[in-house]
Symmetry: C2
Subunit: 110 residues, 2 copies
DNA sequence: TCTTTTGGCAAGTAAATACTTGCATATAGT
DNA sequence: ACTATATGCAAGTATTTACTTGCCAAAAGA
């Protein structure tokens, strides 16, 4: 609507479970090639490429070519911006405190 | 994918600019009726209803009927959960510090 | 009771989305 | 040079999504 275009691209990039899984995979282990990522998703390589293209357009993934391979890296900055713009804004201090407590209780030795 | 269904519903609810605008409207002023919300969006009432239904399914909006009116309230808890699960997880302390700094510099008298 | 206001329900449509198949290209290894 | 590997590009398709139009019902006010 009256909103920044990048914001829309970013939220749309996050709106698909396969793409969130790709982010998770890169979070667990950065710098993977396309084929390495494909092994974890139940779709063709071309499908994965298209998802990665969207993540790259949203600036959530950066790539580097090394020879015939393409390495993928996670960029968490846009997620931080979502937090600043969309979550901190809506956050009630009490609710944050509750969430913090819940997190501490869920992993007491974390 | 291997993911919780609610997570998908939540991200999909946030993936549309009109729905994010509705959240903004409720953040600015809670408890609005359907028609009040319609005044701010350039679409039919039925279209707005469908967006609100998705927000309600994602538990981002709760409603109460008062006579013939339907009042809408924002529930920020799922946003907090996104933060806990998706942003804090990907966050590098340095990047958070940068974002904080950027925010302070952008509104020096905020 | 009659009319207006507020909202619900259902079906239709146009566009966006998530894939696929098929073929082409560049790098690497033998 | 030949083959295998890693990826790119393009077009087709089925589903989902974001709307619309049209009609219906309930509550409120005259």
């Amino acid at each position: 609507m009256t909103e920044h275009h990048d914001t829309d691209v970013l939220f749309k990039a996050l709106a698909d479970a396969s793409r969130r899984k790709l982010l998770d995979l890169l979070h667990a282990h950065d710098g993977r090639t396309l084929n390495e990522l494909c092994e974890h998703l139940d779709m063709t390589r071309q499908g994965v490429t298209q998802h990665l293209d969207l993540l790259e357009a949203a600036n959530l993934v950066a790539t580097v070519r090394r020879g015939r391979e393409k390495l993928h890296f996670l960029n968490p900055v846009p997620l931080q911006e979502i937090y600043e713009r969309w979550i901190a804004k809506f956050e009630k201090p009490r609710l944050k405190a509750l969430a913090d407590l819940k997190r501490r209780m869920e992993k007491p030795n974390g």
